[in-house]
Symmetry: C2
Subunit: 453 residues, 2 copies
Amino acid sequence: MVPSNSPFSLTAEEESRAIEDWRAFLRFPSVSADPAHDADCRACAAWLCNHLGRMGLHAEQVETSGKPVVFAERRGRPGAPTVLLYGHYDVQPADPLDQWRTPPFEPDLRDGRLYARGAEDNKGQVLFALTAVESLIRRGALRPTLKVIVEGEEEHGSRGITHFLDTQPERVKADVLLVNDCQAVRTGQPTIVMGLRGVLSLTIRLDGARHDLHSGVHGGLAPNAATALARLLATLHHPDGRVAVEGFYDGVEAPSAEERTLANAVAEDATAYQAAVGVPPVAGEPGFTAAERVGFRPCLDVNGVHGGYGGAGSKTIIPASALAKISARIVAGQEPKAVMDAITRHLERHAPAGLRLALSDRSMPGPALRLRLDSPVAQRARAVLEANGEPVAFLWDGASIPVVARLAQASGAQPLLVGFGLESDCIHAPNESFALEQFRKGHAFVAAFLAGM
Amino acid sequence: MVPSNSPFSLTAEEESRAIEDWRAFLRFPSVSADPAHDADCRACAAWLCNHLGRMGLHAEQVETSGKPVVFAERRGRPGAPTVLLYGHYDVQPADPLDQWRTPPFEPDLRDGRLYARGAEDNKGQVLFALTAVESLIRRGALRPTLKVIVEGEEEHGSRGITHFLDTQPERVKADVLLVNDCQAVRTGQPTIVMGLRGVLSLTIRLDGARHDLHSGVHGGLAPNAATALARLLATLHHPDGRVAVEGFYDGVEAPSAEERTLANAVAEDATAYQAAVGVPPVAGEPGFTAAERVGFRPCLDVNGVHGGYGGAGSKTIIPASALAKISARIVAGQEPKAVMDAITRHLERHAPAGLRLALSDRSMPGPALRLRLDSPVAQRARAVLEANGEPVAFLWDGASIPVVARLAQASGAQPLLVGFGLESDCIHAPNESFALEQFRKGHAFVAAFLAGM
């Protein structure tokens, strides 16, 4: 990590100003999922625009089909590269409110942490990056051209930024895409996220009789939509956990030996996993470690299944219809559309007799992202993070941030995902917070990284 | 059928009196499922008790742990057999009310049918039997000892009558049990029901993680309760439709060649079934006709399955829990408890790794009922019904009337189930009705049958 006495550390005066800005940013209840907070989201975007302007960037609140996107730019030295910073100003809903020790939109600094909804995710991480930019500008040390894009719907479908990227992709052209919307590994080591899985989802519906049937009169005659759906879902996996959809694994890129070693180095053991989650990590394919299954292997999950009676006691019916929601996480080398097509073919091939199969809600927000260990961007980030001797962790994350792959594609930039969030920040939960120490580390990293470009 | 000029036909005066009684009986909204109608049920039972008293029976409203049971008795000639008549005075709820042409509890006679909730099921069929008894008493032609038991919870679990049979079984001892709570075959031919299936049901629950998990972070690690439940339910059947539970078919009694011929003689064809129900009759075991599968074979159905997300769009979670309701219909020769035990063993043997299996709501209301074609009771009923030349249909019904097997056991009587209801009566639905013509046929049959004993 950058030593605390490095030239990129926050000064006391800078920190006190940064905390005031951070508090101001957090006071907007910019909950994107709730239309009642539309005005709060717009006010938050306006504050951020104004803040970027004061920092010396040309900032603009871009109207979209969704919530406004804040876009800012500052020309760098001739010939210097372009860095695109990505973040989001919207937050998750704050409920359940009664579980907060202090109100979610009245930031409270205690025990070295700032408590508020968004304190970490993502206002805290956006703000340490902007504070780093501000420091460099003040010292005349920011050489690259800087672009900043902060969306208002990361927690609710990223509609606005998608519209922006579709209509004005040339504005985000860059060499490096810096994303500070990640968490570090559980040990708290400085972490570079080297991979994200892509995601796709669909709804399966089976329809049969005109209405639920009497199971005595029709049992042994009428095809049962619930039984048939269970049987159809059971065809999706082999008994050993491998996905049984023909072509599902086509194109999957295997990790290198080094990637595998690095991924396994930070893996949680099964006992700790069970203690934390309540189940042992026994799903997925045989022949791969837990870290490999999450980081390098695709998977297919039933997200929900519903049909027939679910109340107290019994109701002896043959359900007329049933539906399931399924989703796949895909990895580098897999084409979302090809996977969706393979699943569709599989379901149609296994469609039960006597019932009507309907597939809908097909969604393919984005492909996977896999970064190269030997890329100059990753190597430079590693060098900056290891400056004080603490080894960097490399994480192949099983989750998806679909907008990152889209941003990488639109900008043509090399993505760099560095996470300063920790499990103890309780993002998306009551009493979210972010430690000043992590804020300082994030600031120092971004400043050192940008100064070196 | 009994010729219309038979000595057992209703006279015009008797019919007009019977219709008045029938209307009075139907005006009570004796909905057993709704506690708001408790007083209506009691008032209905009191009316019935009083009516039986006026007919010359010793009638009593027996208090139970549920709704009162109406029990009445009339001593017959010395040495004459005892006949037990069974019916119920409760009705299904009347909603949706806006679909009734006339109010459900204001009986309306139009086009030769009486319209009201309960017009057929079961007040109409109880009343034609009582009218027949009344005619015979008035003519001095009722030789057997007569017992009448009319319960108030047939549509809601038969709790009261079960309590009555458990505590006072000696009161129902009889030689013949006459049940008029059945429907005729679709052709409308006079029908003797020769078999009913038994029923049993249970709830299956799988529990895993402490809460629903993020499918990106945990996909390929955490066992998925919805996927696992689908896989577990899929083990219940072989691909060809046979039940795969070891021991499930133990003891199943095969029908005789004659029974099979008679059952197939009244079967609906696949085209008519699909037109009526909306699905082809393709479920059940290979090697048996539709009539055989419903009448002589047990089956296992998923009545409902629920777990995880079921709303609009997608929610990419790994469900922490899921539940299913399943039920079996069983046939002659199968022990309900043995079948329940076989299903339990199967589910426990196939319980998925990493999740907790819980079975609950085990219910075994009653075994199957299969009557002998050559029994004197069935043969006498056949002779009475065929008196005017129309051939009798024999039906092995797939549904269950659990209380009939219990009544047969407690009374020691030979059951006789004759149905005068028709599909067009719309029982359990809006605009329930019963044709006067069917009422007259029922009356004539019961009168002729009792007079011959």
